[in-house]
Subunit: 249 residues, 2 copies
C-alpha cells in the first residue's frame, strides 16, 4: 500500500441514498478528482438526515483524515440540517454570512428571497465560503472539512476550485490490464507481484461478459517506475498462462 | 421519522470504489431490496481492503444495527481479506467448510481446484453458508452479519433467498411527486407537512432538466394511510402555488 499520499474521507448525507431511491455518484466523482491531485480517499460513509448520526460520523472522520468532504443537506428545506450539524460537531454556531446573502440576493432577486432561502446563507462561524458557479448557494470550509451540496452537477462545478486550493501530492497513478482469464487461475502470480511491490496496490476484479469470464487487474500507486515494472511482471505471467489481455490507461 | 422498522447497515469493502475506478451499485441494490421487506438501511460505509479498517467498521456497525451486509473481498486473490477480517472481528478463526469445498469442486472440476480457489471455501467458524447460484463460491452468515460478494450481478442473485430468511416488517412505502417549482419556494409548506406527519420522512430533492428547475418530493414510511394524507396535503399546496406536478409511485 502506498502511504505517502494525504488522506481524505467522504461523508454523504442523504436519506435518498440509503432508501435506494438514488444511486450515489458523489463518492466516485470526489475520489477520482482527489486521486489525480495526489490525495487518497480512504473511507466513505453514507448517513441519514439525522443530527446525532451526522455529528458522530463527522467527528470521527475529521479526526482521522487530512480532509473530509461532506455532500448534501445544505439546501433550503426542513430536511437540510447539515450546517447545524457541522456547527454542533465543532461546538460552534451557524451564523448568517453577509457575503452569502449578497450572492443569493443577486441570484434570486430581492423579491425571490424568503426565510427558507436565507437559510442557505447560514454557515458555521469562522468558515470560508466556497463558490457555487451554478446556483449561487455557497458551500463552506471549516478547518479540514469541506461542506458541499449533494446535487452531482453542482458538486462537479464546485470541485475544481476546491481541489486547486489543496496542497497537491504525487498524483495517484492507476493502470488496468483486462485479461480473459479467471482470477483464481492467476492468484498466486498476482500475489507475488504484490509482494515484490509493497508500495503499490495490486487489485483483482472479476467480471463476466457475454458468458466469458475475465479479470481486471488494477495497479495503483505514486511510484511511476515501480508501476511499470509491476505491469511488465503482470503481462509476463499472463503470457506464460496463455491468457488474452489488453492494457488500458 | 418512522422508527418501527428494523435497521440495517451496509459495509462495502473495496479499494476500487474509493479510488473512483468503480461507481458503487451495491448500496442502492441492497437498500431497495431491504426496504421492500420492511428493513431500513440507516448507514453505509465504504472501507479499504485493510484489516484494521474492516474490523473497526464491522464491530461498530454490528453493535448498532439489527443486520449488517458486507460486500466484497471474498474471492481467491491476495486482496480478498474479508473472511479473515470478519473472523478477527468476532474473535473466531476462519476454517475450511466441507460443504463449500464440495460446491467449488462441483463447479470448477477437481482439476480446476487450487490453493487460491480453496480459500473461497474458508468461512468463519460457526457461520452458515449462503448459496451463490452463479459462481458457486458461497457467502456466509455469522450472527447478524451477512458476508457477500462485491460483483453486483452475483450479489443480486444471492439477495432474494437471504431477504426471504429475515423477519419481515411492514414494507417501507415511498411515493414521489415531481413538481416544476424550486424547493426554496415551497420549503415552509413542506415543513408543515413534515410536522403534521412526524412518523413519515418528507424529503425534498432539487433537480434541473433542460434549463428548468424542479423538485422531487419524496414521502416514505410504513403508515399507508398517513402517506396518502401527506400526499394530498403536498398536492394541495402545489395547486395553491400554481406549480405543475406529477405523482409517481
Amino acid at each position: 500500500m502506498f502511504t505517502n499520499a494525504r488522506s481524505a474521507a467522504i461523508l454523504i448525507i442523504g436519506n435518498e441514498i440509503l432508501s435506494g431511491r438514488t444511486r450515489d455518484a458523489n463518492i466516485q466523482m470526489i475520489s477520482e478528482a482527489l486521486g489525480k491531485h495526489g490525495i487518497r480517499v480512504r473511507e466513505a460513509r453514507v448517513v441519514e438526515d439525522r443530527y446525532e448520526a451526522i455529528v458522530y460520523a463527522l467527528n470521527g472522520l475529521r479526526a482521522s483524515h487530512d480532509f473530509v468532504f461532506t455532500t448534501g443537506g445544505i439546501g433550503p428545506t426542513h430536511d437540510d440540517i447539515t450546517t447545524e450539524c457541522i456547527a454542533g460537531a465543532f461546538g460552534r454556531v451557524a451564523i448568517e454570512n453577509p457575503a452569502a446573502v449578497q450572492r443569493l440576493v443577486a441570484y434570486y432577486g430581492p423579491a425571490g428571497m424568503n426565510e427558507a432561502r436565507l437559510k442557505m446563507a447560514h454557515v458555521v462561524a469562522g468558515a470560508t465560503l466556497i463558490d457555487n458557479p451554478i446556483s449561487a448557494a455557497p458551500g463552506f470550509r471549516i478547518e479540514n472539512v469541506f461542506v458541499l451540496p449533494g446535487v452531482p452537477q453542482i458538486l462537479e462545478a464546485m470541485l475544481p476550485s476546491i481541489i486547486a486550493s489543496l496542497p497537491s501530492g504525487q498524483p495517484i497513478l492507476s493502470r488496468t490490464i483486462t485479461a480473459w482469464i479467471r482470477e483464481g487461475e492467476i492468484a498466486s502470480d498476482l500475489a507475488s507481484v504484490q509482494n515484490t511491490h509493497p508500495n503499490l496496490d495490486v487489485g483483482s476484479y472479476p467480471f463476466a461478459h457475454d458468458g466469458r469470464y475475465g479479470t481486471s487487474l488494477v495497479i495503483r500507486g505514486t511510484d511511476a517506475e515501480g508501476l511499470e515494472l509491476a505491469l511488465t511482471a503482470v503481462c509476463a505471467f499472463l503470457i506464460t498462462r496463455g491468457a488474452e489481455f489488453a492494457r488500458a490507461e
